[in-house]
């Protein structure tokens, strides 16, 4: 499934700090088309910041981010070009951030209609297909306040999918959910990993990361300390930090 001929995202020498606190201390990574990459590590290790640098929700101080070979950290990049890149990179947040003032269906169709000039009828048909896929079709005309956490997150996922992105970034998608709702969201993400989509996921669900990932990155103190296949990282961790972390969470 992975196409090593095509780089989706390349990151070079990425550095970022919040005030005096260094968060990312030089990260180099290449993510290939169709690859599923999980990022694990203790909190405060820079995982989420790294993910948010990939669609420039955070502006890195040093280093470059390339999307399909084009640099998006380029200072001369126009706002409109950045918007267009972001259309190709979906993101799902820990706290869902569904739009509370819009109906479920409008949450999905708004961006395709506005930014991709999709016809309303077409957008709605597509949105209904997506809702059916995640079992929310009966909520089509509800407002998000009527949804449970798990339903909101499934809505957030299909909202991202509706832009037909080439990559989806998941930022701890199940961390804010009640335990009984984690599975319904992981099932949806798991299904996505089977579809050939390029996925980067920051997660604390180790079992899930182990099952679906092509590659696992262990981050600590702003650096990727260890990386490899799930078997390598989970089964035979090399570094002390990684061993220590895994012994605490597994």
């Amino acid at each position: 499934m992975i196409n090593y001929e095509r780089e989706m995202i390349r990151v070079q020498g990425l550095k970022k700090s919040f005030g005096k606190l260094p968060v990312l201390c030089g990260i180099d990574q290449v993510i290939y088309e169709g690859e599923v990459v999980s990022i694990i590590g203790p909190s405060g290790s820079g995982k989420s910041t790294f993910l948010r640098c990939l669609n420039l929700l955070e502006k890195p101080e040093e280093g470059q981010v390339f999307f399909e070979g084009a640099e998006i950290t380029n200072k001369k990049l126009k706002k409109k070009e950045l918007d267009q890149y972001r259309q190709k990179i979906g993101m799902v947040f820990q706290h869902f951030h569904v739009f509370p003032h819009l109906k479920v269906i409008e949450n999905i169709t708004l961006a395709p209609i506005l930014e991709k000039k999709m016809e309303k009828a077409k957008a709605e048909a597509m949105a209904e297909d997506l809702l059916k896929r995640v079992g929310l079709l009966d909520k089509r005309d509800e407002y998000p306040t009527k949804l449970s956490g798990g339903q909101k997150q499934r809505l957030a996922i299909v909202r991202a999918l509706a832009m037909e992105p080439q990559v989806i970034l998941f930022d701890e998608p199940t961390s804010a959910l009640d335990p009984e709702m984690v599975k319904e969201v992981l099932d949806v993400i798991g299904e996505l990993t089977q579809s050939g989509m390029t996925i980067v996921i920051v997660t604390h669900e180790m079992g899930f990361a182990r099952k679906v990932s092509d590659r696992v990155l262990f981050m600590d103190e702003g650096l990727v300390q260890e990386e490899g296949t799930p078997e390598e990282v989970f089964g035979n961790p090399k570094g002390e930090r990684c061993k220590d972390f895994l012994s605490k969470v597994l």
Binding site: N55, F93, L114, E115, Y143
Partner: protein, 220 residues
């Protein structure tokens, strides 16, 4: 007392009614134009350009840092002298109230917008929505729920603040009291009528606001 009140009302009711209309008229105009001007100010204050931020910051600083009565005097004496066209006293006073209200409305709008969760902006950006669409389709529709109730409050404040216009004998409820008092030399009952009229206005307005708020919250 009640008898005196009823006698005054029989004789001077029309003065009070004119005054009541004057108060409502001033408060409505002030909130309306104050909102338009305030919107402009808040846009300046949130703009990317430092100069524009500074200009609106300066304006808001002056207006919120000086008493409204002083501002009324300033406009009352200043505008007729230095403007090339004729202005009635009432127009001068209403302008002063509009300018005053605009500074407060600007802050209401700014804080209403900034109270919308930053995650909403990030979600819109992550979908590749333009800055304009993010503002008009995601942020403002949510901010309006914070802004409208505060604007309604501002209207009630204006009903009471319009009483300052009585210093300049502009037709409104407190001026009505002054007229009646100087014609009859009866003070407390005449004042009580004005007070009752204010209470009716503010109570009705806050009731209407509650209705509007409930409708706004329908989807929350």
């Amino acid at each position: 007392m009640l008898e005196t009140i009823s006698q005054i009302w029989d004789r001077y009711g029309y003065v009070y009614l004119q005054g009541t209309w004057g108060t409502v008229y001033i408060a409505l105009l002030t909130v309306l134009f104050g909102s338009v001007l305030g919107m402009l100010l808040s846009v300046l204050k949130m703009s990317r350009f430092k100069v524009l931020q500074a200009v609106s910051g300066f304006y808001i600083w002056i207006i919120r840092g000086t008493p409204v009565l002083l501002q009324l005097y300033f406009f009352y004496f200043f505008l007729p002298q230095y403007l090339p066209f004729e202005l009635s006293e009432e127009q001068c006073i209403i302008m002063a109230l509009v300018v005053n209200a605009s500074a407060y409305v600007a802050e209401i709008i700014r804080s209403g917008i900034q109270a919308v969760e930053i995650g909403q902006t990030e979600a819109a950006k992550s979908l590749g929505m333009s800055g304009f669409h993010t503002m008009t389709r995601i942020i403002l529709p949510q901010a309006i729920k914070n802004i409208l109730p505060a604007l309604g409050n501002e209207f009630i404040v204006m009903i009471k603040e319009a009483s300052l216009a009585s210093v300049f004998f502009i037709t409104e409820i407190t001026s009505a009291f002054k007229t009646v008092q100087s014609a009859t030399f009866i003070t407390i009952p005449a004042l009580a009528i004005s007070g009752a009229l204010y209470l009716i206005l503010t109570t009705v307005s806050s009731f209407l606001m509650k209705l509007a708020e409930r409708r706004l919250k329908a989807n929350d």
